[in-house]
Symmetry: C2
């Protein structure tokens, strides 16, 4: 019996994570990685924080990159599920697309939970560290292991909505990827590199969503 609604690739972890120890590694790991960043994060520090040992953590994950990729998968799996769920009640594809954009901008119900995680914590991690999941020399072998499938699936889902709005769009997938990427990098910019965006003034996710919805409306409207 699976403990979660949606599970990441079992190949990411070396051992079943539903145990008490697995649970603590995942929850404390997320908190610590968010606090100190991937570079400073070590399994030793995580073990100390948990009152356990480095070796124990190594029995669950081969290295910290795999742990990051685990969170990366949970986040995108959950987001895609959430988007598809919300879309069921909407007949108009443009409304569905706008709903998806709000979701990728982090606008979701209070108290939402992504499996056992707080989706705000996952989102923060994915914004700050997520691209390190694939920006390295092993990207091609990791991709063959399908580690980025949940991310691609969400982009494909959004591309589907774009197509539904504008069947003749030639770059629906590229545009969906644009929306997803910018939902994250503009949020990073508005907190750390404010000169890059007008959104820094209010630092409001709703404004971020409004920009991307406007962009989507313009993209989908013509022709």
């Amino acid at each position: 019996m699976p403990r979660y609604l949606i599970d990441p690739d079992p190949g990411l972890a070396l051992r079943d994570l539903s145990s008490a120890m697995g649970t603590r590694i995942l929850s404390e790991g997320l908190a610590l990685m968010n606090e100190i960043g991937l570079e400073a994060f070590t399994f030793k520090k995580l073990a100390e924080r948990m009152g356990s040992t480095e070796v124990t953590v190594y029995h669950y994950f081969a290295n910290k990159q795999r742990l990051l990729q685990y969170y990366f998968q949970v986040y995108w799996l959950w987001l895609a599920t959430h988007c598809k769920q919300e879309g069921r009640n909407l007949a108009d594809p443009l409304e569905r697309l706008q709903g998806d954009i709000k979701a990728i901008c982090g606008i979701w119900p209070e108290n939402a939970r992504a499996n056992r995680f707080d989706p705000d914590d996952l989102r923060a991690l994915v914004i700050n560290e997520g691209s390190k999941s694939f920006l390295h020399k092993n990207v091609d072998s990791d991709n063959e292991l399908k580690l980025f499938k949940p991310y691609k699936d969400l982009c494909a889902h959004i591309a589907g909505e774009v197509k539904a709005c504008s069947p003749r769009a030639k770059h629906a997938r590229s545009f969906a990827t644009t929306l997803v990427e910018m939902a994250h990098s503009l949020e990073f910019a508005m907190h750390h590199l404010p000169a890059l965006t007008e959104l820094s003034e209010k630092k409001d996710r709703k404004q971020l969503a409004a920009y991307l919805i406007d962009l989507a409306n313009r993209y989908v409207a013509q022709k």
Copy 2:
């Protein structure tokens, strides 16, 4: 007398780089960083490759992040100069914007040189490793040191062209950032995560530019 047309922040390096040693560090460093990636790159390996010593390299740069940020600055400084130069011959802001988009997509004259570097090498590095310049816990202090100014300046320049095309655009800066970011992340996607974009089929920078020009035309056209 400055050796370069455009120089990065002098605070990035610990010592003047115009010497023979400085030149070799910069050129071999770029090649090695592109070959093995930032994580595997060390000053020791660079020194071995150059037939010099680790300590010598440490006399030029405090750490490899600073060296990366140096290349990051050179790239954006050169690109902005190139864009502004090309724009001088064009009266129509939309044509200037389209020219800028081609430039950020890596379409520039054969044999172009960015200071002493091959801009294709710089572009490859910035695509694969560039975001590690700012995706870390020191981003705010590095930003106070103005290390990201050349990047922001190019985005601001492009935002100016967007404004010129569409004076009432509310998110010109956010949109300029969107263009610049996607010129890089879609190029990465088309080589390593092909499911994310239609551009993977031909892997052609011109098609990438065509997508972004189309996006810009749609963004600028309305209202």
